[in-house]
């Protein structure tokens, strides 16, 4: 039986980024048809992504539907689900919901991964809160960021750009962009930098609020690049289709912590299934 890895991230960009790492470093291919998933995963997708309840008081139109995970099949034939929690603060709740959904199926994930970042709060603080959530779900939390616990299922937590370093996915992407598209990256940096300086003097403060945030210029730089690489499409599409993560960039230092984490996650010994005498030993 194929092992099942479940990784929850903050948003669509993280999902696209981790998906590319899986493709480039682990020979993964995207699974796009429900029929290509096994029964238990089909059951999960069918039950876990219905419409959220309508409270009668407020109901976000943007959240009328819950985005389904992106599924990948690794070269080893094991399956990875990348789940978009739709916000950093939603990761704990998403884990709670999915763990409950898994517990109602015949089979949950063999390994759980969580990818955080440390945009406006130190990753260790976020990890501290997440550990309490993980414990509340009766899972064994790793003792530190980047590690994978020995519980059943195994649990690993990572913080972008790397544990111990403040920053976000954009820090990694900027380095990748410099390597893959140096001229475009330089132009985008200049363009975003210019407008960041201008923003301080702009009277319509609300328009420039996002750019003035700590990671605003980095995000604008990435956005400017993806607007050129994939005009009219989202950053997610560029991350999936362009050479941000590629055979050429995968050796870059900035990717190594994340690749090492994924490697630890995907090669962790699979816990023995309940009732079986021993582990299959079938690791990716």
């Amino acid at each position: 039986m194929s092992a099942f890895f479940y990784i929850v991230t903050e948003g669509v960009h993280d999902v696209a980024f981790v998906g590319r790492l899986l493709s480039v470093a682990h020979g993964a291919s995207r699974i796009r048809k429900l029929e290509d998933l096994d029964d238990s995963l089909r059951g999960w997708v069918s039950s876990a992504f219905k419409w959220p309840r309508f409270t009668g008081k407020h109901h976000d139109i943007e959240r009328l539907a819950v985005p389904a995970p992106a599924f990948y099949r690794l070269a080893t034939s094991h399956v990875v689900a990348l789940r978009n929690a739709q916000g950093l603060n939603e990761i704990g709740k998403t884990l709670e919901i999915d763990i409950e959904a898994f517990s109602r199926t015949q089979r949950g994930p063999d390994v759980i991964g969580v990818v955080l970042d440390s945009d406006d709060e130190p990753a260790d603080q976020r990890f501290g809160r997440l550990k309490a959530t993980i414990k509340g779900l009766k899972l064994l939390s790793p003792s530190s960021l980047g590690e994978v616990s020995a519980g059943t299922p195994r649990v690993g937590v990572f913080a972008l750009p790397e544990p111990g370093t403040a920053g976000t996915l954009e820090d990694v992407l900027l380095t990748l962009g410099d390597a893959a598209y140096p001229e475009l990256a330089a132009a985008a940096r200049g363009y975003a930098g210019h407008w960041r300086q201008q923003a301080d003097g702009e009277p319509a403060i609300a328009d420039w609020k996002e750019l003035r945030k700590p990671a605003g210029t980095k995000k604008a730089t990435i956005g400017a690049m993806t607007a050129i690489l994939k005009p009219g499409k989202s950053t997610q599409v560029s991350l999936e289709d362009n050479r941000w993560v590629s055979e050429q960039t995968k050796a870059l230092t900035c990717l190594q912590p994340c690749l090492a984490f994924l490697n630890a996650l995907l090669t962790a010994p699979i816990p023995a299934a309940e009732g079986s005498a021993e582990s299959s030993g079938d690791t990716p």
Binding site: S46, S47, P52, R53, F54, T55, E96, I97, E100, R104
Partner: protein
């Protein structure tokens, strides 16, 4: 909060063994796939609350199948109830065992069925004797198909059940409404009908020339038969009447959404829950509808009585039952995240 039933355990009932609902509250939703045991829970609850009442046993049968032979239906309530073969001689069933914690303490109901061919009748017929024992007290015997008056040697609770078919029985609705009219409590039924049709003004039982029916006084249509309205109105009338009669007791509702369009589920269920709270009625309901789950969560939230709601998810596998209980907060978290809890 009204919680007559606090825990309910079906130790042996129909094909179920060891199915427990722990932490029942005043409003309880039971969800799960077909054949997971939802309806059996309602039947068992009714029998536990009125064990020596023959009508409760008959109701358990009739709510499943209106036309089935009563004795065969009774036999099927008992564990491992292979079809009855009276030609082969008298049969003794396995034992039903239902346990609960109630407001009046623990209760344990055991019952066994003895079925045989009736003798002395012209046409061959089958009869059954059900022996019920409550908390180890001497057994009470009920004979079917013609039981006598109930022998109430133990406390019985007010229990009424509504199934997806109740509203198709004019006889049942007339009986309910007659009692409710006698008690001067038909207002809930009228108000619920007004959710569907603001022109409804009154509701009454008419008996003339051997015909009994429920008549609705309507602002524009005049006095018309309830049967001339749609399923939603008939079902809501059934729910309202049963709830009104269950005062300070328990209402068992199989498929609470049956017959009611999702667009009016919220106001209809909100009204029912409000009345259940004021009438001190505990509700145990099953549903296959996510809209009904959401409507009940919303109604409880509006009433600021979230602790009164519990949901139980059942799964049957290899003849064993898994039950997961969700309190209000957990239910909200799961539904806010889009999980289909059914």
């Amino acid at each position: 909060m009204t919680t007559i039933l606090q825990n309910l355990s079906l130790e042996a009932y129909r094909g179920i063994s060891e199915l427990s609902l722990e932490g029942l509250t005043s409003v309880n939703l039971v969800v799960g796939a077909n054949n997971s045991g939802k309806s059996s829970i309602l039947e068992a609850a009714g029998l536990l609350l009125r064990p020596p009442d023959p009508m409760q046993w008959i109701s358990a049968v009739r709510h499943r199948d209106f036309d089935m032979s009563l004795v065969d239906g009774l036999w099927s309530l008992f564990p491992r109830g292979e079809a009855l073969h009276p030609d082969d001689g008298p049969s003794v069933s396995e034992q039903i065992a239902i346990r609960a914690s109630t407001t009046n303490g623990a209760r344990f109901v055991e019952a066994r069925c003895f079925a045989s061919q009736s003798v002395g009748t012209e046409a061959a017929a089958v009869s059954a004797r059900v022996e019920v024992m409550v908390d180890g007290l001497p057994a009470v015997t009920m004979k079917f198909p013609s039981p006598g008056a109930p022998a109430h040697q133990v406390h019985v609770y007010r229990v009424f059940a509504v199934t997806p078919a109740t509203h198709y029985s004019t006889k049942a609705l007339v009986e309910h409404l007659s009692r409710v009219v006698d008690e001067g409590k038909k207002q809930l039924a009228v108000e619920l009908l007004q959710v569907f049709d603001a022109g409804v003004e009154d509701l009454d039982v008419i008996a003339s020339l051997g015909r009994e029916s429920i008549r609705v006084t309507h602002r524009t249509r005049g006095v018309v038969d309830l049967a001339s309205f749609g399923d939603g109105m008939r079902r809501s009338a059934a729910l309202a009447l049963a709830l009104t009669r269950a005062y300070q007791g328990v209402l068992l509702v199989d498929e609470i959404e049956a017959g009611i369009h999702h667009s009016v589920l919220r106001p209809v269920l909100a009204k029912l829950l409000e009345t259940a709270a004021t009438s001190q009625v505990q509700i145990l309901a099953t549903t296959h509808s996510l809209e009904a789950v959401d409507a009940i969560i919303g109604a409880m939230e509006d009433r600021a009585t979230p602790d009164a709601l519990s949901a139980f998810w059942l799964q049957r596998q290899d003849n064993k039952h898994e039950v997961r209980r969700y309190d209000f907060a957990k239910l909200c978290t799961l539904r806010d995240g889009g999980l289909d809890i059914r």
